[in-house]
């Protein structure tokens, strides 16, 4: 068997990037760092109790369910009392930034892939590659290009979180009833009008599921990012692993789980909110809708027949 120097090639390519685009990467790293800093500052600026209240309000707005609100308050109080508040907020900041970037990249890519089967064909193996490549492997070039710290963590997290956004956006748009899209075209809509008024709104539940997945992926990656010096729950866990500190490790893990459950319930509730709220409002407005429909039907049909 001839030896294929793929590893060498990747190494050389990374070196090449650093040699020739090093400054660009530095600028990028700076911007990213600022971004995470801003989000983090906003999160830790208010007293933890105040932020817990805000999180609870968000939970209420998303799902209108008391259980989620109660969970939010109790769970984050627990986090604060474990003395992990700062680390949790650091992690949340990284997750939020990475998720926003992943959605900003993934959703347009998904739309593009849904509209062109050629693009979809090219993107698919790339997504497979991104999703199945062991997560640690992302970290090596990220550290190489962006140095130690929070930035490689954000980059690796983003790269890991993009695929579900692309996939679920693409799926959602492809699942939109072809006849409805055809109707929009038949009434003279431009392609972007079809996208904005028909395809995106109808694909929204799927896109929201994608965003939910993005956040979950980001959260699972963020712990690993602790290995490259990103502050937060990741580093708590990594430290306790190296010190064989069972208690501290468990606390860090528990905080991650709390964050994960909160973000998952929040985004999945927001995804299905539209429909339920609309239905509830309608039911309140016309309690005897079915009866009215029957009457209506008679009114319409009898004079014609």
């Amino acid at each position: 068997m001839p030896e294929l120097p793929i590893g060498d090639a990747v190494e050389k390519f990374t070196q090449f990037l650093q040699d020739h685009l090093g400054e660009a990467f530095d600028v990028f790293a700076n911007v990213l760092m600022q971004l995470v800093d801003v989000v983090y500052t906003v999160l830790v600026a208010p007293h933890p109790l105040l932020l817990i209240a805000v999180l609870a309000v968000l939970a209420w707005l998303a799902g209108r369910r008391v259980t989620l609100v109660v969970f939010t308050v109790l769970a984050f109080l627990l986090v604060a009392s474990m003395q992990l508040w700062v680390q949790t907020m650091q992690t949340l900041a990284v997750v939020l930034v990475a998720a926003v970037i992943a959605v900003a990249v993934g959703v347009p890519l998904g739309v593009w892939a849904a509209r062109s089967s050629r693009v979809s064909m090219v993107i698919r193996p790339v997504l497979d590659f991104m999703q199945t490549l062991p997560v640690f492997v992302y970290l090596i070039p990220a550290v190489f290009l962006f140095g130690i710290g929070v930035v490689p963590g954000v980059v690796a997290t983003t790269a890991f979180a993009v695929p579900p956004a692309v996939r679920l956006t693409q799926l959602g748009i492809r699942q939109v009833d072809a006849e409805v899209v055809e109707a929009a075209v038949a009434f003279g809509s431009r392609p972007w009008q079809v996208l904005r008024e028909v395809q995106l709104p109808l694909a929204l539940p799927s896109i929201m599921a994608g965003i939910n997945q993005v956040i979950m992926m980001a959260l699972s990656m963020v712990v690993i990012a602790g290995m490259v010096g990103a502050q937060g729950l990741g580093s708590v866990v990594v430290q306790s692993v190296t010190q064989l500190d069972i208690g501290k490790g468990f606390e860090g893990g528990l905080a991650v789980v709390i964050l994960a459950i909160y973000l998952d319930r929040l985004t999945s509730a927001a995804g299905s909110r539209d429909l339920t709220r609309r239905r509830a409002r309608r039911r309140a407005a016309e309690p005897d809708a079915p009866a009215q429909r029957d009457r209506m039907h008679e009114e319409v049909t009898v004079p014609l027949a």
């Binding site: 006849e179 109707a183 929009a184 009434f187 003279g188 809509s189 309608r282 049909t301 014609l304």
Partner: protein
């Protein structure tokens, strides 16, 4: 209004390849395309639709009828053929003008309604106006107007999923009415509805059509529906036109075995008219003739009654042999003295269903008359029964 010539659509291969496969293949076009890796969905279809007409395209699934319909607004790009709408060549339109045309001139109604589920009924009805960026107020007024016409004004603030199928399609109709397009393409619009609602919707369509005559191209696989609403019907089979004629012509003179079989289970009595079973009367009598002559004429054809006409050919009554014999005995000199009213007269365009139960009730056959009651001919019972019977073989008219 619409002039289609040689419309052809090949799926599954690039247009150039399809054109070269079709060229010179003659009758082997279908096979030639298949060998080249494509599928000939529509093969050399030509027809014209005049303004204000309801033109029905009919065929089983896979006959290419929906493809033909979608070529009329270029939702499907024709592989070959020309298409004139109001004298303008549709194929030559740039995308921008094509969108204008779809928005203002040619609208469409879909089989599964194709409403936007996240928009209210009113917003759905206003969709075409929204696309052309009409001001919101005008949009809503126009949508309400259209919803009133289809009887849904009370449902303007509902969402489509609250409506029954028939009501959804009314919204689909309102959406097309609101844009004031002259041409309406309807793709099996009532196929997804249950039979009673379907009938209501057909009535609604005919009523709307009588109020403002649009040009409608209507696709259906239901022959009774086609016969009911279509002025002319194009029957398609395997992408080709099997016959294009009025409902009456298709039933009374089907072009081939396929059409014959197709129309076999149609309610013929509703489509065929008195004109289809019209025969010249064997004998008639004139006012002023003597009973003797008339009675002799009746005996020659072995009949029991005779239509008596005035000098312009109008039916004045029926003279039965009994009455004639009585007049003879009493010394009557003209047939007028023995006229009776024992007959039934129908116009030539009356469907057979309206009078077939009366056939054979009288001594004379049913009279077919024009607007001035002039006798055009008679509809004998045998002719009616023959017309209603399903032909086993093609009858060449």
């Amino acid at each position: 209004m619409i002039e289609a010539r040689g419309l052809t659509k090949v799926y599954g291969m690039p247009r150039d390849g399809a054109v070269s496969a079709l060229r010179g293949a003659g009758e082997r076009r279908r096979n030639a395309v298949r060998e080249a890796g494509g599928f000939l969905a529509v093969d050399d279809v030509g027809f014209s639709v005049s303004a204000g007409e309801i033109f029905v395209i009919m065929g089983l699934s896979g006959s290419g009828k929906s493809t033909v319909l979608r070529m009329l607004n270029r939702l499907v790009e024709p592989t070959m053929g020309s298409l004139l709408v109001d004298g303008a060549d549709l194929a030559a339109l740039p995308q921008d003008e094509l969108r204008q045309l779809r928005n203002r001139k040619i609208n469409m109604v879909f089989q599964h309604f194709a409403l936007l589920p996240h928009r209210r009924v009113r917003e759905n009805a206003a969709y075409g106006l929204k696309v052309r960026q009409a001001p919101a107020k005008q949009r809503m007024e126009r949508a309400d107007w259209a919803l009133r016409r289809v009887g849904l004004e009370q449902w303007a603030d509902s969402y489509p999923h609250e409506l029954s199928g028939g009501m959804k399609q009314r919204v689909g109709l309102a959406r097309a009415l609101a844009t004031d397009a002259e041409i309406l393409l309807m793709d099996e619009p009532f196929s997804a509805l249950d039979p009673l609602i379907r009938r209501d919707m057909q009535e609604l369509l005919l009523q709307l059509q009588s109020e403002d005559r649009r040009t409608i191209v209507f696709v259906t696989h239901d022959l009774n529906e086609a016969m009911r609403i279509g002025e002319r019907i194009m029957v398609m089979r395997d992408g080709r036109v099997a016959q294009c004629a009025t409902a009456n012509e298709i039933i009374s003179a089907p072009a081939d075995d396929y059409v014959t079989e197709f129309v076999a289970d149609v309610d013929r009595s509703r489509v065929l008219t008195a004109g289809n079973v019209l025969r010249p009367p064997l004998v008639t009598a004139r006012c002023g003739e003597s009973p003797v002559e008339v009675l002799k004429r009746l005996e020659n054809v072995e009949m029991n009654g005779i239509f008596v006409l005035d000098e312009t050919g109008r039916v004045v009554g029926v003279a039965t042999d009994k009455a004639l014999a009585g007049a003879l005995r009493d010394g009557g000199t003209t047939v007028e003295s023995c006229l009776g009213g024992d007959y039934h007269a129908v116009p030539a365009d009356a469907p057979i269903v309206e009078f077939c139960d009366l056939a054979g009730r009288h001594t004379v056959p049913i009279a077919v008359v024009d607007a001035d009651r002039r006798l055009l001919g008679v509809a004998p019972r045998a002719a009616i029964l023959a017309a209603l019977a399903v032909p086993k073989k093609v009858r060449h008219a």
